[in-house]
Symmetry: C2
Subunit: 329 residues, 2 copies
């Protein structure tokens, strides 16, 4: 795939960088969230002891490869896009599962696994009857992704470099983020960012406002995250995003999404689906939009692909599509 270089010097559509995690999902009653002091709907970082304790309390689980940007990249590949991923797993059973699933999706994944340090990271996901997911992440090996792990060749070969906001939760990953962004822009490529999580935005608000304005070409956020970034009503947040970012995609849950540029606002309808588990909905929306943008499609069509991809994971348990997105598109 990498040798098939196109006229613009790229061989890839999107390369993603993020925390490489395996998801452990269980469906629980509403009171589980309160009993275990979870922050419903959010992503909370947890330490190993807490992870062990919470896992013991969870019901029988299913294990599926996850990680926000990794889900997006798997989605791009499922659409038939050319995609690569950078992230760190350990050389253990869950690391093998993560790497297998990326490559089985057709994703270029050549980050070497760590042979010392903590095990492969995992995200303990509680899905409540309202289909909301509550994320509890033990970063494990993924937290040790550092600037030295940034694969400059893949970034230079990609039309878009896609970064997840969760990277900002660790200094080394944050440094890697900046390195990747500089390489991408230095090669004349675009940088896309997802804000990931409202609390994540609030944890890093002072760094993020200038970073988004200066370094981000395509911004993904849900309405709460965008308001967390700009601290005002959605209308005003959208106006501000339009001033500062080339393209901003705002997801609105069951109401669809908006794609905002200096040209105007494209309203994207949702793709109807019976909601089972919203895990990965935002990740897959980004997959559809980025796949479309990398192909140079009109924004309304990019949004349509985003809605289709999101619906493909909302209808089942887990954050990766169970069928080829290319066939659904």
């Amino acid at each position: 795939m990498l040798r098939d270089v196109r006229d613009d010097g790229t061989a890839l559509d999107v390369v993603g960088i993020g925390n490489a995690l395996v998801d452990v999902l269980s469906h629980e009653a509403d009171d589980f969230v309160a009993t275990h002091d979870l922050v419903k709907g959010a992503m909370t970082l947890i330490e190993p002891d807490r992870a062990t304790q919470l896992y013991e309390a969870m019901g029988p689980g299913i294990e599926v490869s996850g990680g926000s940007a990794a889900n997006t990249i798997a989605g791009v590949a499922s659409f038939g896009g050319r995609a690569a991923y950078l992230g760190k797993v350990h050389d253990d059973q869950l690391g093998v599962v993560f790497a297998h699933d990326m490559r089985a999706n057709g994703v270029v994944f050549r980050s070497p696994p760590a042979t010392d340090g903590p095990p492969t990271g995992r995200c303990l996901i509680i899905v409540t009857p309202d289909a909301e997911r509550t994320l509890n992440t033990y970063l494990g090996a993924s937290a040790y992704f550092s600037p030295g792990d940034v694969d400059a060749e893949l970034i230079e070969l990609s039309r878009y470099t896609f970064l997840e906001g969760y990277l900002f939760d660790r200094p080394e990953a944050k440094a890697a983020y900046r390195t990747a962004s500089e390489i991408a822009h230095g090669a004349g490529r675009k940088v896309a960012l997802t804000l990931s999580d409202t609390f994540c935005v609030e944890r890093h608000i002072d760094e993020w406002r200038p970073l988004v304005a200066d370094q981000v070409d395509v911004l993904f956020a849900n309405d709460a995250e965008l308001r967390a970034l700009y601290g005002i009503h959605l209308d005003h947040a959208v106006d501000r995003a339009r001033d500062e970012v080339e393209t901003t995609c705002v997801t609105l849950g069951p109401e669809g999404s908006l794609i905002v540029t200096s040209e105007g606002i494209v309203e994207v309808p949702p793709h109807p689906v019976e909601v089972v588990d919203t895990t990965g909905a935002g990740d897959l929306y980004a997959a559809g939009v980025l796949h479309g943008m990398a192909k140079g499609l009109p924004l309304a069509e990019c949004g349509r692909l985003g809605s289709i991809a999101a619906s493909a994971v909302i209808g089942h348990t887990g954050a990766r599509p169970g069928q080829s997105l290319a066939q659904l598109a």
Copy 2:
């Protein structure tokens, strides 16, 4: 649970013994089966190299605790029955997943994990568009279950000891089977066996005919397995089972099942469901029937519980129910 001994001296309804496996499932097109020389619908034992090769060829997977008897036992517990399981995992990440999921189902699982030898076993499951599952099992640590691992206390405390035919594929596990059967009968308990797989029956046909006649009180088989055991038409196989076994449960796929005793034949209708993946259907049918029998319910009611439990796993990917069977019953 074990201290709550009932009038008949039991504290458990069912204890299961089998190969402790984690399933890795992927949906594949029909030609995958031919391309990789798989035996469609059957369980084939594979060595580590073959497992690695096949896994590399498989698409993105989901990992869920499996193992035939383990699925049955998880089902009994999901009905609210008192259940225990004996089987061997390694002290590794997949072993932790298996043990967690058993205990999270409310199953007594106290078999210590192996700290040397091969890793936790896994079953690579290919689900084709017709919802048929093709099993490729790398036994790993599970193959080292031996007579010394038979927990006599749990067997003596259980109304039923449930054994999977797959145990016969390894000499040590076969010896453990005989030990468990003797302990159960010595304590005045019943022994149940599932024939597991047509090829498995054929591999051990000479040992199985006398063993079923002498040591099995409740036999589970699908129609092909029962015919493999008795080598004749289904009607004749049923007659012969009736002569040799106290209770024989014959599953007939979408046509439901038969429960055969010297008193007659109970015809059990299937529970309607949209078929997604038949993995675990037979295992869960056995769960419902055994749960009912341990409660002393009429055979027609036992069969109804079997049909409900089977339908609960046929409708999704994976062999364990996603919701409480007690609520469906």
